[in-house]
Symmetry: C2
Subunit: 388 residues, 2 copies
């Protein structure tokens, strides 16, 4: 069924451009490698170049004066605060910044920092299903005595302290979320806001939580840099997170840090300097890219008898000053009657590698598919599901 | 007592150059920040420059064809193998390379990979005292059910499986080591060869162990890059280590990787290209730097009634084709009679921050002091201990 809820930029959404991918090639859409944004950075290539000379950035130290996160370069901290100020997606003025080797390392640092250090039993770490598929393994891999995976937050009924991870917009399904645990027990909250950027979802408010995680990978698409940051109100929690990163990897690559500072600077300059062309600004451009893809996707899904995707509510974005639907980085596909295992069906029939619902704690009728890969892969994906 | 065991390059070792550090300033020599090598890289600055453009290195992937370490750039693997071939310090031809965010992350990856996954009790991780001060905390921080800190390998008597870490040359004391556990039980070995490079110690043989760890920090002095590598014979162990790094940080900074490949390339080119001036080659230059410092240090220590340092045996280095004493990156200082706590004495009386023996599992009469800091700090250190 066609539901016209939003105006998508492409006027010919139904035309799927030809690709030169053989129908026998497996489409690798299981991971969320954000290469869609590469074409923007090609336009900004020289402006964003960093040159690192042989003798530079040799020390472990980033800023001897920083008594919270000693390995962070000062320009990185300034850049992060400036970016949140420009976008208006998070309050940082009364919080500390801790950087990590991606949000993956910082998620573990946060759980470590919030776990009671002397408890006789591990604290439960929860997330509402469908939850990010890697949380469980990251929490469980070392069989820690400090914390353990506690499963779906919505069905948690123990009267024991817990840590709830709130992923918003959610990975895999792009929904906006708040805490869901109903237990009377005291819980600590970690907000994973990796996708709370204007290209993915309307910025409806400045997030202002005790502990928020962000990552460069999903903000600008530079996943190879392995760089993330936490915005943390309690200085002791921030220090414990820093201690975790120190024990885990003695800090964060200075090469990545210097590049992050450069690229964030270029993004912010675009918004703050007179004379920038709005359509060429990073978040406008990247939002347009994703909305074009979603427009094409809806055109296919609306005609499909085999697959469906839940609609997202419109919302007003304070950053772009317009109402729109979200345009998440993943497609959370549901197979209709007759197909019980969506992942297997996609791989077996269509040679599309997706990540099945079970990995996210839900039914195998669902599968997650990356929307942020190459143009070729995305168009081939559309072709295959529209012919299915 | 003066013992002339070696010819040190500086003819006026006893002259300590003046510094402009105030006697009230605390000298920070507790960490091993390898900034001494900066002056070499200033000479090679442009040659070693990397330029990273805005759109480059965006993917999580390093090499889709690598079925062991998928996030490693191919040029990094080639560079690592080439470097070991040039230096002759390790056999790599029948082994896999796994890269990590410093040897710190890889040490934990190694212990994870070697721990029995389904054992009812954690395996003991051991190292002979004095051992690297961070092993214990890295092993203990998450109270893992897979492994636990087992203390001094020399006094291990349990008839249970174990993992022994062999650090050679050793941190803190620079000695050459082999396994020491006498137990009948079966042990697995991890060789931490961070300092097995020609500037620190004669290269007497090609190390050829099942699992060897190296780090860029101590090889070239680029500690800020947070880059290390493991040479691993068993493909399943290598894959488990990769899995650990994936769970911990989804790989390793591509910016660091691209710089590592560049700098290793410049080092190797120097040795393999016709016309290089030997004294300007990296290992010759850096060895000279450290030997100059050791020459000055011996001149002071030999006159000291308060402090002593154990002598190292001479050995023939296959790489430099000469016999010499080692020139370790740390001074393992022993306080003589009357001073029970070396760390406290140094800090209280001489305003020198060192790391005390207790942290390394031995007597507090010992303390570790970095020899690889700035010229100013090193000379000020000499002045203070010679006046003590």
């Amino acid at each position: 069924m066609v539901v016209a809820t939003d105006n998508y930029p492409s006027s010919n959404a139904r035309r799927i451009p030809p690709t030169n991918i053989s129908p026998n090639t497996i489409l690798e859409l299981e991971k969320g490698d954000p290469v869609v944004f590469e074409k923007y950075w090609k336009k900004r290539s020289e402006e964003c170049s960093v040159v690192i000379r042989g003798w530079e950035l040799m020390s472990y130290l980033g800023d001897a004066k920083n008594d919270v996160c000693w390995y962070m370069l000062p320009e990185v901290e300034r850049g992060i605060r400036r970016l949140h100020h420009v976008v208006g997606n998070a309050v940082t003025h009364d919080a500390h910044i801790v950087v990590g080797t991606g949000a993956t390392q910082l998620f573990q640092a946060a759980v470590f920092a919030l776990s009671p250090p002397h408890s006789s039993k591990p604290i439960n770490v929860l997330a509402a299903a469908p939850y990010y598929s890697e949380y469980q393994d990251e929490i469980s891999i070392l069989r820690s005595g400090l914390y353990q995976w506690g499963g779906d937050a919505a069905s948690y009924e123990k009267n024991e302290p817990y840590i709830e991870v709130i992923t918003s917009p959610n990975n895999p399904d792009g929904t906006i979320r708040g805490p869901v645990v109903k237990s009377e027990a005291k819980g600590k909250l970690v907000y994973d806001l990796a996708y709370y950027w204007p290209q993915y979802t309307p910025i409806t408010h400045q997030a202002d939580h005790d502990l928020m995680l962000f990552t460069f990978s999903k903000c600008t698409g530079h996943a190879g840099s392995r760089f993330g940051w936490a915005v943390v109100k309690d200085i002791e929690v921030a220090r414990k997170m820093t201690r975790y990163v120190q024990m885990s990897s003695i800090g964060v690559s200075k090469e990545s840090q210097t590049r992050v500072a450069k690229i964030i600077g270029v993004v912010c300059d675009g918004y703050q300097n007179f004379g920038s062309m709005e359509s060429e600004l990073y978040f406008e451009y990247s939002k347009r890219l994703l909305r074009e893809r979603w427009g094409k996707l809806w055109a296919v899904i609306d005609e499909s008898k085999l697959f469906s995707v839940a609609r997202y509510p419109m919302a007003f974005c304070n950053f772009t000053n317009e109402s729109s639907e979200p345009s998440p980085g993943f497609i959370w596909l549901k197979c209709e009657e007759g197909i019980e295992d969506c992942e297997s069906y996609l791989l077996g029939k269509l040679k599309i590698r997706a990540r099945g619902g079970k990995r996210f704690g839900v039914d195998s009728k669902y599968a997650r598919i990356s929307l942020i890969g190459t143009d070729g892969d995305f168009n081939e994906f559309l072709k295959r599901i529209s012919n299915a």
